[in-house]
Amino acid sequence: MENLLLQALSGLASASSLFLVASGLTVIFGVSRVVNFAHGSLYMLGAYLAFTLVTQLPRGHLGFWGGVVGAAIIVGLIGVVVEVLLLRRIYRAPELFQLLATFGVVLIVQDLALMTWGAQDLLGPRAPGLRGSTEILGLRFPLYELFLIGVGPVVLGLLWLLFHRTRWGTLVRAATQDREMVGALGVNQRMLFTSVFFLGSLLAGLGGALQLPRESVNLHMDLSIITEAFVVVVVGGLGSLSGAALAALLIGELHAFGILVLPKITLVLVFLVMALVLVVRPHGLLGKPEAAARGGQGSAAPLIGPAPPALRRLGLAALAVAVLLPPFLGDYALSVLTEMAILVLFAASLHLIMGPGGMASFGHAAYFGLGAYGAALAGQWLGAPMLAGLALAPLAAGIFGLVFGFFCVRLSGVYAAMLTLAFAQIAWSVAFQWVELTGGDNGILGVWPDRWAAPKLVYYYLALVLCLGATLLLRRVIHAPFGYALRAQRDSTLRAEAIGIDAFRIRWLGFGLAAAAAGIAGGLFAYAKGSVFPTYMDIPRSVDALLMVLLGGVHTLSGPIVGALALTGLQEQLVRITDYWRLVLGSIIVLLVLFFPQGLAGAARARWEARHGDA
């Protein structure tokens, strides 16, 4: 009994810290509708800055608490800088585009933190006066944890007062409800957004700084907190402060008691809960349906038509190179080209649901990975030859795509993205945890091609034929009635339904089709690498897929192709040129977002149209 109580208290302490971070994220989202991936980086910076300040300032209460508050304020200011330089310029961009921009910031901060604070974990001092523990029912409980349990509700109370008792707070609440209206009221929207960003970042920094007496400061803090914070914010309902508090409580206690019952399941538990909540309550526990974005897309997506002759010639030239050049290339170049061909298909499959489908997927890697695992498992357990494995890959991915998609395509925007993420994480943790079947993180080895396809050149042509074929097929689908139906429900669900189109069904089938295509890519990838690992379906791979599509341009058919080639080429080169490739890559992403918001292919198309007149 005492133990259960203490377990609950431990859960409360975690919940409290989680709430600090999540509250900042949800406040920022509520007003600006920006899904700030860099929120975790701000949290990490808060911890690092607090470490520096606290260890530099004189020991004692003033030094410690001054350092913590100072770090939070500095992080708030850093948030302002990010907002003014970057986010302010892209408020009108689609959500995933903003996600991409803030992901660029994550990469930049990672390397800057490494340069500034070094690689070793830093253990900060404990809080003065709260070093020890107290006895609760005869068991010891750290004072600092008790203090943290108090901080959460206090911050929640202060935020409530701020939002309900000040004019600024009233404006923020109004903006959360209806962004356009506040703009129409003549409020200085810029100042409002910037100040909200300051507050949200400050909360992230405070959350990080307050971890100082609890855990060591390290370079992995950013990504480990951001997924949890996303989960809390989404489960609670985007933009809802009390929702975030409730969800933090739920997740914190779930952790604390989950490890008592099923200690091995902690990896997936939170995502199971998130999936469940989103399936049952599509807008989180306390969230409200988003006010239908007024005026639909600010600017309508462009028409699609047959490729202009210039582009067609370019494509044919590229194809000629892809077919004729490889016999003269070495094995390494061939394996890079094979990988590029595979990633082109992967990107094209995501593009189908993001571009024409207008859906957001933050977990597309799941289907890539399921294809890879489908092929590898068939080989390992059934002794299936390569071609059978390759046939099974899209089947496995497609079936799971239909199962997961059934729930995902009902939701929209960020919620849909988060549900796809939850399913991807569930698939990932099954691959990670089901050691008997999948080999766990050690993966499945020896997934090499059949003898006839073993030479790199042969395998390259095989991959080229399948990937290019599938990509062209997807392109064909986009020009066919089904692709038009996808775009129809994206452009106007109202009209689509009014002419007999079952929007859900179209989205669902589109999702399944994209998953199957990603599965082909995954299967080919497995045989190209000779092995399959859970990393094939982890978050970074999903992010890579998004990057490729968005870099290329969502609203151009050649976008995913250009994006995939650009990103793989860039990464492959960068890793070899500099140790700080994340800094460079992050900067490139940020610059692209700012200056080529339509993506590379989109920008090229705009230029071409400007020169040749509108077709």
Binding site: L114, G118, A119, S216, L267, G530, Y536, V575
Partner: protein, 405 residues
């Protein structure tokens, strides 16, 4: 902390200068022997910077001493960013484009396995330096892969020997939830039960790697009221676990046996909060004054103005093992090198070791001791060197574990 990442060009330049400075190279035209090294530099910088530093030091020393029969060695480093699929691609690049003679490296077990499989498929020698998983030399061992570091099994076995001496009957375990943590716990349980029938395991915690919910984990362990604890967490998880554990009194009147915790990589970040009296494997670098270790420590300090970590030993000895191999066989042809690797003996920083022909595992050992606080820092006391060859299963058992053996 002086560990700044070193730009790749600097490294190559450094290697080049060292090569030029080598007197024996007056013979000229000596083309360098190229080694391809792949590791998770950006994903695990804390461990791999000291590793690479020592690697460079070793390479400089080998080249200054005339290289391999007059040919300098040269290393091309690649960062796999913690992704096995990238490691495989980079291995292809190193082999095909950079024309390296052999591959080395690997920190994470899954990357080690991916590279081992690549080596097997492409018939290239792969000298795995760090990855601990037993599968690398046993269940998934292959002709082309050799491993330097003492494996999960070996280190667990070393600790079981100490754990069996304790009076404790009721044990709890805590380990990161991935292959390394799971197999460490599995071996520990199996070996300890064998060594001391009657022990029982009353609680198991498997926090996600890098995401330990330390307070709740500590509380859950305490609730089971074990007499002793086997810990496998490391890095940030370890620091959080130790902090919560000591505040909540988990470690009082309980013995803790802990894998790797005596390594400076993990002990040093704990500062004056390093736990006392834990039985650990590790590396008491400041206290080992042997003819093979002292010169290494001083050379490392001189070169990098920092003290060596265990990663430094591994990096240094990987180069030294490769150098010994290249001196043993005149050819850089893979099959000849692989044949020479089997049974290769050389003098490591920890003393003479051998790459066993039976399973390609080196007999490099580890230091087993007790943690103490010294001058406000964690250190090891009452330590001894546990020679790896004494902590491997019998040959018969190994043959059952390793398919091709």
């Amino acid at each position: 902390m002086t560990g700044r990442a070193i730009g790749r060009r600097q490294i190559l330049a450094g290697a080049g200068v060292a090569a030029l400075a080598a007197p024996n190279l007056a013979r000229a035209q000596a083309t360098p022997i190229r080694i391809g090294e792949i590791n998770s530099y950006t994903a695990q910088p804390a461990f791999l910077q000291p590793y690479r530093n020592a690697w460079i030091l070793a390479q400089e020393q080998v080249n200054a001493a005339g290289g391999i029969n007059g040919r300098p060695i040269e290393t091309i480093f690649r960062d796999d960013a913690g992704k096995p699929e990238d490691a495989v691609r980079l291995a292809g690049e190193l082999v095909n484009a950079e024309r390296v003679s052999l591959l080395a490296g690997g920190f994470l077990s899954n990357i080690g396995l991916a590279l081992a499989d690549f080596a097997n498929q492409n018939r290239r020698l792969f000298v795995a330096s760090e990855p601990l998983t037993d599968a690398l030399v046993w269940s998934r061992g292959n002709r082309y892969t050799f491993r330097l570091r003492a494996s999960t099994y070996m280190q667990s076995a070393m600790l079981v020997e100490e754990a069996a001496k304790l009076p404790a009957k009721r044990w709890a375990t805590v380990a990161p939830n991935y292959e390394y943590g799971q197999s460490a716990v599995r071996w520990f349980k199996e070996l300890l039960t064998r060594a001391k029938p009657g022990v029982e395991f009353v609680a198991e915690q498997f926090p996600a790697l890098g995401r330990i919910d330390a307070g709740a984990t500590v509380q859950a362990l305490a609730a089971a009221n074990p007499e002793a604890i086997f810990n496998v967490t490391f890095g940030a998880d370890l620091t959080n676990f130790v902090r919560q554990g000591s505040t909540r009194g988990l470690f009082e009147r309980r013995r803790v046996v802990s894998l790797l915790t005596g390594e400076p990589e993990y002990l040093d970040p704990l500062g004056d909060e390093a736990p006392e009296g834990w039985i650990v494997t590790g590396y008491p670098w400041e206290q080992i004054d042997t003819p093979s270790h002292t010169p290494f420590r001083e050379a490392y300090r001189k070169r990098w103005n920092d003290y060596p970590r265990l990663g430094s030993v591994v990096g240094y000895d990987t180069v030294m093992a490769i150098a010994a191999l290249l001196k043993k066989t005149p050819s850089t042809e893979t099959e000849a090198m692989v044949d020479a690797m089997a049974g290769l003996q050389f003098n490591s920083v920890f003393g003479p070791i051998e790459f066993r022909a039976i399973d390609h595992q080196s007999t490099m050992g580890a230091f087993v001791g007790r943690t103490v606080l010294k001058n406000g820092k964690g250190a090891m006391a009452d330590w001894r060197y546990a020679d790896g060859k004494d902590y491997l299963p019998s040959d018969d058992v190994v043959r059952t574990l390793r398919p091709q053996a």
